[in-house]
Assembly symmetry: C2
Amino acid sequence: MTANRAWTLASYPSGWVTEANFKLVESPVPSPKAGEVLVKNLWLSLDPYMRGRISQQQSYAKGVEIGEVMTGETAGEVVDSKHPGFTQGDKVLTSQRMGWQLYGCMKGEALTKVDAVRAPLSYYLGCLGMPGLTAYFGMKEIGSTKAGETVVVSAASGAVGSVVGQLAKIAGCRAVGIAGGKAKCDYVVKELGFDACIDYKAGNLYRDLKEACPKGIDVNFENVGGEVFDTVLRLMTPFSRIIVCGLISDYNATEPYALKSIRSVLVNRVRMQGMIVFDWNQRYPEARRELANLLNQGKLKYRESVVEGLEKAPQAFIGLLKGRNFGKQLIKLA
Amino acid sequence: MTANRAWTLASYPSGWVTEANFKLVESPVPSPKAGEVLVKNLWLSLDPYMRGRISQQQSYAKGVEIGEVMTGETAGEVVDSKHPGFTQGDKVLTSQRMGWQLYGCMKGEALTKVDAVRAPLSYYLGCLGMPGLTAYFGMKEIGSTKAGETVVVSAASGAVGSVVGQLAKIAGCRAVGIAGGKAKCDYVVKELGFDACIDYKAGNLYRDLKEACPKGIDVNFENVGGEVFDTVLRLMTPFSRIIVCGLISDYNATEPYALKSIRSVLVNRVRMQGMIVFDWNQRYPEARRELANLLNQGKLKYRESVVEGLEKAPQAFIGLLKGRNFGKQLIKLA
């Protein structure tokens, strides 16, 4: 068996993440202890939340320490098992503690066996994984959408946003995306079937958004924060809802963007709620089943942005934070 | 009968309200038409929401036009009635359309007959009126407090805040107020029975609040906004709630305060909701009954800040916006 390789945290970023914040280390492939399973990782998921784990600010989860393997979820194959529930060749989804590495041991309880016939293995990191589940629970449990309402989602071509908008359409809503650049906006409208998509880089966000949402915004699924969020706030309707899922525009800022339009929450009796998908982890099977059905019925379209090779993970992660990816960002490991 | 006198809007304020924004006009006392009631106003309520009505910003209610009588609720006595439900001498609560004046006609449907034996008439503008109802519905419908939780309320000695904290204590919570100056803070703790009250003018708001809320803040009833709100946000606990009831610190600002700590909403899955008490107007009788019971049982203490004479209304209103009042601000008209 070859050696294991892993990206560890070399230093905490100050402002933008750089490749120098990470260090690639080699070590022997570990052996599973009783109750553990050795997984060969085939796909590594890169997600915006990871920026929070290498920040020294308070967050909802423990951060990565210097020298530790970077946090990250993978999809892979069991190569050795000391747990009765798993055998060699099983396809599994790991937990975030697996991290940016080629091999890793985990307790069987932390793994989810997946059906790689129902959908490609990598999909369990995207539309059937954490991003898809985030969209599903956010819309279902906080969005409370009714047919005919207008739903706006930022980072609309991304792993979460693309599912949000498609779920909005399935629920009979008007779906309006916000994305960066014409190519992403075209994809969101022409491929994913949103009613409109605003290019925030075009410089007329408020005017364009107002035009795309003539009756205002009833549900905002916020992935970006900052000025985009501040602009959306100004267009919220009475009794509207905001799902605060991500604030990616702030993650690399040394000073957070300061929101000017909070008065809209008062005037419009907006209900704004922060969400972390783990809070619904008991209900993942339900959500995964529903999303897989939509996928198999052709009602859920999905796009991946694949980079080959573990060594490119830091670079791809920085690209993700800068919005350079187009679709769910994955690293193909083997 | 003497002439009527009324304060009308002379100009929209830019930044701080000044007395020059208002004009006192005299007119004959009007006669009620069929279905109407002529009320002699005995008490005029001054409330922070009025600032929003003379702002040119979008709000939840129509603003006052130049030359129109200033918006305001009064408590008074029926002097003439062309409505079968009212007779001379009835004590009534008027709607905000009554305004800052000595006499006014209203449709009977817009009046609420009140029992001035159960409580002093002026109380129906305070702890049994809009401020008390605001505290009641905000805490009950949005706060979802559980015994043992920590509730923080800003403008704690005011008409809304004082009721919020006392309701929190009745619900078995730790009640922490924020107010300006030692006298108000002492009153909030010693008279109203809050567990602590922080003087935001003392200059150590974050440190003092943290010390007063060692387990963090589970419910924030926000009346003030601005830096106070931003500081509270940093101390919210996971799954905490924020009732956005007022943002008085912004009402006279030409630029709104920009909130830096919105990330707390995401990280802590905070549920933040704007409220306007009118949304529960079908349930006012229920709330008024419960608050009157608490009052009669001595469980609800209440303080008024009375200024005599209609001519002093603009000056008292400016004082209210600057936090100079101590207790519910009223104008005694007769």
